[in-house]
Symmetry: C2
Subunit: 299 residues, 2 copies
Amino acid sequence: MQIGFVGLGTMGRPIATHLLDAGHTLKAYARSPLDEPLASRVGRLAHSAGEVAAAAEVVFLMVRDTPDVDEVAFGERGLVHHVTPGSVIVDLSSVSPAATRGFAERMAARGVAWIDAPVSGGEVGARERTLSAMCGGEVPAFERVRPLLACFAQRIRHLGPAGAGQACKLVNQVVVALNLLAVAEGLALARHGGVEPALARDAMLGGFAESRCLQLHGGRMVSGDFEPGFALGLHLKDLRNAMRWAADLGAHAPALQAVLGLFEQAAAQGWGGHDHSVVARLYGADAGPRQPDSASLSQ
Amino acid sequence: MQIGFVGLGTMGRPIATHLLDAGHTLKAYARSPLDEPLASRVGRLAHSAGEVAAAAEVVFLMVRDTPDVDEVAFGERGLVHHVTPGSVIVDLSSVSPAATRGFAERMAARGVAWIDAPVSGGEVGARERTLSAMCGGEVPAFERVRPLLACFAQRIRHLGPAGAGQACKLVNQVVVALNLLAVAEGLALARHGGVEPALARDAMLGGFAESRCLQLHGGRMVSGDFEPGFALGLHLKDLRNAMRWAADLGAHAPALQAVLGLFEQAAAQGWGGHDHSVVARLYGADAGPRQPDSASLSQ
């Protein structure tokens, strides 16, 4: 199938590669030129998102935040001006659920389906085809693109109408942030109490405290290696979206509010470009070699 | 080996059974009479903890909290009055690290070793011999009792001197409480946002949000079945001990403070006897059939 793809960053590149491996051809648009070997497999990049839409019946988006999706879809040179009725836009980005409902409505008015399908599992999951895709939108359109999602996602779930995938992804990011906080505060307490954090982490694995964060991010906290992984600045963006969403819903979210504050604090230290496990440094819990730098992704 | 055992409650019973299965004989003391089949395998109960100490070179304790250990070990009819120099006391209870150091010193003065070996994994772990044992104390005494711990624990770790096992267990309980809170708040947010909590939980499993709590307690929250499991009142006891410990250490523990507040709130609702996953009810996140009752274990 001729597939459109907008956004070939850290996540977009491995995902596009899997689609190519599955025998599809891509018409892609990206802000930066591609490196080899992807560059020669993709061929000439489109000059705009609109050009991508004109060439494909399914268009994937993988960009940073809500305004980026808005620009790509509805901006001056956006998808909306060239998209064919009957086609499907699959937004893999992690953005606002409310805005997503608006995007879906505006595209529906042109006969185009919108599936929100943000993913969890990070760059490693994208490379290893073990992502979880959390999907929202009309079921027939979802069923149409499911085989394409299966090229890079292991777990594919339909959660409800447009925006439901984004809602679930925000929930996911809140849970991850709190699990990270649990490990960061726990290991800091251990250290204060005279127990080697590496030993405490090891002793807790296999018990009720077990989590993907204790395993993966706990290891990073213990070693003090905060190379991403998933950048704190990106996770902060998700937590801000989650907080706005919770406020709009009138939902009680005291733990989210607390962890958002800690992430803001970490970003203010200039750690936005480090792996999100760097929040442990707020507790002085690492003896890692890296210093805060100014190359922060956080705004 | 003739082993002493004090405290045959929810956790003590399956642990004692595994020691018997391994071919050891028990001299046991418990406040309540035993049910069959354990009663006939254990035989006549001792009249006091002291009587247990007189009959065994290794004595296991599995009681509720610090004052209970103090009473059993140093009370009027306690171990200290009959214990043989060269023997080892293994405290499986989850109690204060600082008090544990005091217990160890007082017993050391009588030539008796004290190993703190609190466990994680709950009643299920105790039945299935998959507990994690977090140990503190002198290494030779630890090595002496390690084969006995292996009768019921899968993961046995030595964390440092007396109290280090208790310190690690408190850390473990803090991490579990925060992981529970993450799932409770996350599923409540999903529900508010129109996503079925059961679907959200399922979609998140396998991603970075994965945890033992999402798997086990998330399932309980979704079904609204809060039969313990591990009682909220017992977990609250651990969190209070952790908060005192953190305060004594001068450690920064904002997340612990927040989650302790939520557990206190849940206990005040009369939910102390329910499984600790009942904290989800603070968010109104369950449609379960159980009502708060007065049979609360929390003080």
